[in-house]
Symmetry: C2
Subunit: 493 residues, 2 copies
């Protein structure tokens, strides 16, 4: 047994100004000394009275620290003799501060996902990324009131859950909404609410495909869908979207287990799948016994006529799963999306939502149900449809007036973004890079291709642009093209 | 060209009381007739004036319906002649109402997950499930005020995001909290916020393991972890937890890629891993180059002394990932959990959160940060720790007084549930079934075993039980055991 005087009191750098309680500081110092091998198994500790005196802290703080260390197994007490470092404890090779040993690695699927292109919005630039709705016009006063009322209700149904498919009121509200607006035939039980459309896609990729199964993905197509399909281990086959439509009869296409499409407003081309193509796609899926995921990411914003009816409403074979979101109609950080699934799959999907944790907070679900039921959602949609139509017109006119020499922007009947195709053979990544330098953040479309030689252009979101922003965005793009012209930067030259 | 009189007007069952707009009713009727083959490709439609008159609806409603059908490709207009069903459209084999074709199937991993035992709380029974915190005491007035204030702020940082790792204020608040309370060494950048701890486990299972990799899972162990590990394709190997501790030196254990543990309060045994075992586990993981997931699902509720320090704080090799949740300290439907990850993995984890959509709504994240920063969280924890300690004492006393003949309930230093082991060889699923009939909903522990012959008992949550509920729960259990005794229902008899 070492003499008391040999105890290394310098392990304590006790600081009375530190807000950490004295007991915790004593505990931390002794524990750390044991872990670093400064106090070895069997060493005797000072008495609590002695240590209290040495450090100038209250004795009960030292007692509490010793008790905690005894309980966690760092110390042992021998009655009548004293307190000792537990004999079995020896400093670990892992002791903090002594990094060593091999580094563990990430899985191949994590590498596949992190290797996908990322569209990272930069807060300090004018944002022309697609998919961002205007939020200035959102009725936050109403939203905040509905939210506070639900939060105050203390209702047990909002605090724990008996179902993971979603709040019943929201499932009903969604079923009514999609029936009227998108021609979807479903009961509230077929609606499963998730933390956004991306979560729905992630669940579906894993539920509908095993590793090695074939999935058709539109080319060019949505990177978010590609990422979750890759993560599921699927073999991706390009379903080409051309000026003639979806090339679904390409004989090179391997037989699919799943077909992912955006028929209302193809991402990124903005194309709408017409009725005859839809019927052909359904027949083809039926013959090949494939699932179809219909991603309706912004089908609500149609400026000419009504929103097109969903593919889901034409399917009687229970193979189309419709995925929708409130991220584009309300605001993206709300994180509420949903899917409409065939009746016989509901229980399995609900289970997947539970196990993967992709379940939206009940408070927000209930508030959104109130927002829809009281008519605020329909009113907001109506207002936004008019606003976006106007913004599209303004943005198009500006592009035609100032950018026609370099880029053709085609008007679209739907959506809150449009596709700009280059009139000269620019490399769109370079255009985006130079534009970024001029203060505007854009998305090059070449990154939506993963098999074919990419087309080049920009997918331009105008939803958040007021007139002034629209003007400055277009003039920054003009300066970008002028700079590229001056430098002779077309890939042909 | 068929004569006007041959048009099947009976496709319209026009209802003036229906709130669906007239144009939508006309659109739906014609579209449906085309899809069902009643109107064939090439058939001529009545003029808009004629149809308007026949149906008694305003002409502009009929015009809008025709326009929509023209746009979607169901109809074609021949100038000066009339409007026709598009020739290429033929009724699909899939036409609604004519279900046919093979049924698509779910993936093997979906089957693996849906085949796991499910602990489904029933709203109409007294809930003795583990893991449910008391919510009566939660300061909803404060919460609701903080929430409404954030919702009204319209702050752009809450409406779109530039990071998917979480709201900066919440990441800071969590880093401070775990440093003080759990002895965790981390910077705010190492904190990644998710939609609950289950989502964190789901992300980690996919990021750290490829299909076929070995994961050690505690036996008995947490079913939620087992489900996501199975879904990731991992090969599960039992890390047995006995009265002697974690049997980590069992020579039968295959070399792991990942080790999942609950060291603060093992699920379901309630055991705490002592300091020497923790060091051994870290050394073992280092030797075998395995990841460790430390699931600290309710480490905050320790009644004797302080909460034990986390395993993460003893690890200097960057292989321990700590998973925490606010579901047990606040309320489960909040859906906010987090992980503390090594610095060099943060970017990949953030990307996974983005791609899988397991990102918690920013409004709730910011509100929670406010709740913590303003001291409400610490105050709530302190109050709840005292309340749960009292409830544990009351519940234990009642069990000892009334149930000792059939079940031994061991006091635990931590948690909001306790393990009841049977004094007679009952089958716990039968006990749970009979108890359910007597009005109380419990969890049999045999379902936490997946390899070994299970032990039988009940994992009893007392967190939500006031004195009266505690009394009625115990008396329902007593009647259950009496009924089973009377029927001679022990598996030994």
């Amino acid at each position: 047994v070492p003499a008391k005087s040999s105890f290394p009191f310098d392990i304590f750098s006790f600081d009375h100004n530190d807000r950490t309680p004295a007991s915790r500081q004593v505990y931390n110092a002794i524990r750390s000394a044991i872990l670093r091998g400064i106090l070895r198994g069997g060493s005797r500790l000072p008495s609590t009275r002695g240590l209290s005196k040495s450090l100038g802290v209250a004795r009960n703080g030292v007692v509490a620290a010793y008790d905690q260390l005894l309980m966690e197994g760092y110390l042992q007490s021998r009655s009548g003799i004293g307190t000792f470092v537990a004999p079995a404890i020896r400093a670990s090779a892992n002791a903090p501060g002594t990094r060593g040993g091999p580094e563990p690695t990430l899985s191949r699927r994590a590498s596949a996902i992190t290797g996908q292109p990322r569209f990272h919005r930069n807060a300090n630039k004018l944002n022309l990324h697609p998919g961002y709705p205007e939020t200035e016009t959102f009725p936050f006063a109403v939203w905040s009131k509905l939210l506070a009322r639900r939060a105050l209700s203390r209702s047990d149904e909002l605090l724990t859950y008996t179902s993971f498919a979603g709040h019943p009121a929201l499932r009903s509200a969604i079923a009514n909404y999609v029936a009227v607006m998108r021609g979807i035939a479903c009961s509230p039980e077929q609606v499963v609410v998730t933390t956004g459309a991306q979560a729905a896609l992630d669940i579906l990729a894993r539920m509908l495909l095993d590793s090695g199964d074939v999935a058709w993905l539109e080319e060019p197509g949505y990177v978010g869908a590609r990422s979750v399909l890759l993560a599921s281990g699927a073999r991706l086959v390009p379903l080409r979207v051309t000026d003639q439509g979806w090339a679904m009869f390409d004989p090179a296409l391997a037989r699919p287990g799943l077909i992912y499409v955006t028929p209302s407003c193809q991402w990124p081309t903005g194309r709408t799948m017409w009725a005859g193509e839809r019927l052909e796609l359904l027949e083809l899926a039926n013959r090949q016994n494939a699932w179809i995921i219909e991603d309706d990411y912004d089908g609500e914003y149609r400026f000419r006529g009504r929103a097109t009816s969903a593919l889901q409403g034409m399917d009687a074979s229970g193979r189309v799963i419709y995925v929708g979101t409130f991220g584009k109609t309300l605001f993206s950080s709300l994180r509420i999306g949903f899917m409409i699934v065939p009746v016989d799959v509901v229980a399995a999907v609900e289970r997947m939502v539970e196990v993967t944790g992709q379940f939206a907070p009940l408070l927000l679900q209930a508030t959104l149900a109130d927002f829809i039921e009281k008519g605020h959602f329909a009113a907001h949609l109506k207002k936004m449809r008019a606003l976006y139509a106007q913004r599209q017109r303004e943005f198009m006119d500006l592009c035609r007036e100032h950018l026609a020499e370099w880029m053709t922007v085609s008007a679209s009947d739907s959506g809150i973004q449009c596709l700009g195709r280059f009139a000269k053979p620019f490399d769109d990544r370079e255009v985006a890079r130079v534009a970024f330098g001029h203060g505007v953040d854009t998305q090059p479309i070449s990154q939506f291709y993963s098999h074919d030689e990419p087309q080049h252009g920009l997918l331009l979101g105008y939803g958040r642009l007021n007139q002034r922003d629209s003007q400055s965005g277009v003039s920054m793009l003009k300066r970008t093209f002028q700079e590229l012209d001056a430098a002779g930067r077309t890939s042909g030259s």
